[in-house]
Amino acid sequence: MTDTHLLKTPLHSFHIENGARMVPFAGYDMPVQYPLGVKQEHLHTRAKAGLFDVSHMGQFKLVGSNGAQALEQLLPIDVIDLPEGKQRYALLLNEQGGILDDLMVTNAGSYHYLVVNAACKVEDAAHIRAHLPEGLELQEMADHALLALQGPAAVDVLATLNPAVAELKFMDNVELTLLGETCRVSRSGYTGEDGYEISVPAAKAVALASELLSHEQCELIGLGARDSLRLESGLCLYGHDMNAETDPVSASLIWAISKARRADGERAGGFMGAEPVLKALAEKRPAKKRVGLIGSTRAPVREGTQLFDASDKPIGVVTSGTFGPSCEKSISMAYVNFGEHEVGTEVFAEVRGKKIAMTVSKMPFVEQRYVR
């Protein structure tokens, strides 16, 4: 059932050889699960080490002079003082303060390295290029694959190829040699676990994946488990838990606005969308707010489910939901009216005509285990 219009990552054949069930995702033919199955893949990642192909994501180099200043025009984070070898989470905003994408920005020394969502990469690149001053060029690293190795055993697995990876701390991002090839290795990921993301030349991707997978602690993990892992860890999925209609304050992503760029910061404002975002930040009273919900039953409460208060008044909608294999609870993210967002508030989800009680809960739903 191969759709010829779908793009393939350099690991496409590798997935099929390893028994993956492939599905279309963001224009790519991607593995949703392997023979282990979504639940076991999820649990394996939390217990040992899971290997993910995330090569569909967009990798870019911003090359030229004053890249940090240019990025600060577009992103509400501190790029100028981002140390070399460090990466930072950022939101790409439009003039209204709506979120166009979320991304990682690394100071790679002679350039900035960006990783953006697959579904957004064409629009992101066009948007960034349209706002770059003379002397800067955004280059897509189409000849690179991206692997994520996640879980408590990730460090042991990757250290067999280069012991230096064990020295990295959360959000370090440096060049290291793996299998004789220069790779960009960051200690980061999107599962809430310790782990790494590895940018590797496409020609070496299968060799690296095979080598990692040969470790007895390591299993291949598909998009299905990637979704439940990130949701348990309270991490947003772009296009679901945030989009161009939501701003960082509504999305409960205030932490992604660096101190230096806030109203009282040393380089206050000066980014696209600064005016509405800093206003919303000062007011801290968005019409709707992203919250975590835990269900009173095991029934998954999925994206699109309407939420009500005790008097049956509509108060919000679910944007992601599943049964969390590790927390063993029905968990969701939702946008609810301001006032219904406090932890402990009881709301009611309408599932197949019945109302299921859910409680607004703090996120993450499981403990994050980053190595800082």
């Binding site: 199955g37 299905g224 095991r298 599943t322 197949r352």
Partner: protein
């Protein structure tokens, strides 16, 4: 190849039916169906005493991916449901034909069972769908 016991009857919507005494049948989903659904995380069952027509949606099986309606292949009254699935829905994956059964129906028209497929016909249907 999935497991399709020869002593059961099958509906084209992938439920299996086992005849017990007194015109009561046990209903579940086939091994083929559970494999297609993936890991089951939640099962919503009907109330004992509810009446349904053949073809009615009476239960919901939710996997990590999606919710799927389960239809009763026969007309009648629910006499028992597998309440252990509330805490252990994975039994639907692990033992689709025994521990993973869903509900029992007291048939009002026992002849309906004869309209269902035997194992061979159902095996053919599964092969075609793959």
């Amino acid at each position: 190849m999935s497991n399709i016991p020869a002593d059961l009857k099958y509906a084209d919507s992938h439920e299996w039916v086992r005849e017990e005494a007194n015109e009561v049948v046990v209903i579940g989903i086939s091994d083929y169906a559970q494999e297609k659904l993936g890991d089951v995380v939640f099962v919503e069952l009907p109330e004992v005493g509810e009446e349904f027509n053949a073809g009615d949606a009476v239960a919901v099986v939710e996997s990590v991916k999606a919710a799927s309606d389960i239809y009763t292949p026969v007309t009648g009254t629910i006499t028992e449901v597998n309440a252990s699935l509330e805490d252990s829905p994975e039994q639907v994956n692990e033992d689709a034909y025994e521990d993973g059964w869903l509900f029992k129906v007291k048939m009002s028209d026992p002849e309906e069972v004869n309209d269902l497929m035997d194992a061979d016909s159902y095996a053919d249907q599964c092969t075609e769908e793959d």
